[in-house]
């Protein structure tokens, strides 16, 4: 029997304190069941991580992934960087309160880095490397790359087209975003998205259906349509 492997940032993360409530409802669990995979699916995910941490995890686990297994990789924000070996979640150096999570020295180094060494062209180049690395690494597996934040730089999946991003689904659930920005909405929620994987259960179901259809029938993966919207 095949196994489902998920490598992801917060979109594939299930916090320990919500495990029992969500263990059978998360999109990857629903997908694993639909695909008829073994119970011991693997989601290797971390809130706020960078693509570099994900590729490190892919390298670490690669020998255990069978060619019959299914693999979903969520590509996160290209501007995140894995600076802190153990503080994986502090990769979003543009987070409004990043200095709350790191030492003063680190904050100074990050600030200089952001202003004088960090450039978008570097992020674009590495993002391009990363997506091609995943495709190459899993060229003998059943793979879907899910765009987390960007979908205008590169072809994510070669067998079908991929439209939209997970961030678009996440935002489209929030009716208030017609009047407020995403940042304002987060601020109102004390900077914590109350949803698991930034999606409500109804959209976990839709997402798992779409991923199933792309895996099984190479159907185009449209993340801009078919999802429940404007209800939060």
């Amino acid at each position: 029997m095949s196994k489902l492997w998920v490598f992801s940032d917060s979109y594939g993360f299930l916090p320990a304190d919500r495990y029992h409530e969500w263990k059978d409802k998360h999109w990857y669990r629903l997908l694993s069941d639909k695909l008829g995979c073994t119970e011991d699916f693997k989601s290797i995910a971390h809130n706020g991580c960078a693509n570099e941490w994900v590729s490190f995890q892919i390298e670490k686990n690669f020998d255990d992934i069978d060619e019959n297994d299914y693999v979903v990789v969520v590509a996160t924000d290209k501007n995140r960087e894995w600076f802190f070996t153990n503080d994986v979640g502090v990769s979003n150096i543009y987070m409004h309160n990043v200095e709350d999570y790191i030492s003063k020295n680190h904050a100074v180094a990050i600030d200089y880095y952001k202003h004088f060494l960090k450039n978008n062209y570097q992020s674009d180049i590495r993002f391009n490397w990363y997506i091609n690395y995943i495709k190459y690494k899993f060229s003998n597996h059943k793979l879907i790359i899910l765009p987390g934040f960007e979908n205008n730089l590169i072809v994510f999946n070669d067998k079908f087209s991929t439209k939209g991003t997970l961030f678009e689904i996440c935002q489209s659930e929030i009716n208030q975003l017609k009047h407020h920005s995403w940042e304002n909405w987060l601020r109102k929620n004390r900077h914590i998205d109350p949803r698991v994987g930034h999606l409500s259960y109804c959209n976990h179901q839709v997402l798992s259906d779409k991923l199933y259809n792309s895996f099984k029938r190479a159907e185009n993966l449209d993340l801009t349509n078919g999802f429940y919207k404007d209800f939060l």
Binding site: E52, T85, A109, L117
Partner: protein
């Protein structure tokens, strides 16, 4: 029309601070890429190398020419040192952030930023370097496959099992272009840098860090790879111990330059 394309670092260009007028358009016929170009069934050859760059710059250059590649073209890439980064956009040749005189070549704020980065994130920099190298190499294979190019990836410094057409050796045997370069010195790498230091020769006087006989050996190996699919062995077949003392280094002058 079939083209040969070469992208890379100082192993892929004759540009050298010792010879200000020397450009890739005017390189001597014995330089390895010229020899490869003469042996392959091509119509034109394009050179795009710059000393000191990172793999990010190399990828960016390759991508710039995407629409100019033809199916069946030959693409040679020298993959550079994994620790280099393209941090300063208008100075891609400052990829080596450990360069001695780097502070004199950048603004004060850039220098401070580099100092903070190196002092704070050195360990993680090394971890990321290995990941980036694999990603870059995978990108090269993917790019060449998509466009139908014949790809020859050469490790300038760091080996990796991803170099599938380069002979792999167990243990710490250097099997890269820099290994060929250093073996030209009696006493290899340590002696090379000692001699450079003693002679106050800041920049290698050889072209592409190789002496003329080794340009020919390298060119033949690359040609045989393209023509017969022969695995490239960068450990054997090259001339060694060509530089024994300071005089050898000081008096070296490449032919036709």
């Amino acid at each position: 029309m079939t083209n040969l394309w070469l992208f890379g670092d100082s192993f892929a260009t004759v540009r050298n601070l010792n010879y200000h007028d020397l450009t890739d358009d005017k390189m001597p016929q014995w330089v390895w890429m010229q020899q490869v170009a003469r042996n392959l069934p091509i119509d034109t050859a394009h050179w795009c190398g710059l000393p000191g760059v990172s793999n990010e710059w190399i990828m960016n250059e390759i991508k710039k020419y995407t629409k100019d590649f033809n199916k069946g073209d030959y693409l040679i890439v020298t993959s550079t040192h994994i620790n280099r980064r393209w941090f300063i956009k208008d100075k891609p040749d400052l990829g080596n952030i450990y360069l001695d005189n780097l502070n004199k070549l950048v603004t004060k704020k850039q220098a401070r930023a580099l100092k903070e980065y190196k002092e704070t994130f050195l360990d993680q920099h090394l971890v990321l370097s290995k990941l980036y190298q694999e990603q870059f190499l995978a990108w090269c294979y993917s790019f060449a496959h998509t466009l139908g190019l014949k790809l020859c990836l050469l490790p300038a410094f760091d080996e990796n099992p991803f170099f599938m057409h380069i002979k792999q050796y167990p243990g710490n045997i250097a099997n890269s272009l820099v290994g060929v370069d250093e073996a030209e010195f009696v006493g290899r790498a340590d002696k090379k840098y000692d001699l450079f230091h003693a002679c106050e020769v800041a920049v290698d006087r050889r072209l592409c860090h190789l002496s003329e006989p080794n340009h020919t050996v390298l060119a033949q190996k690359i040609f045989k790879f393209f023509k017969y699919g022969e695995i490239i062995d960068l450990q054997n077949g090259f001339e060694r111990n060509l530089f024994k003392n300071e005089q050898d280094v000081i008096s070296y002058r490449p032919r036709d330059v």
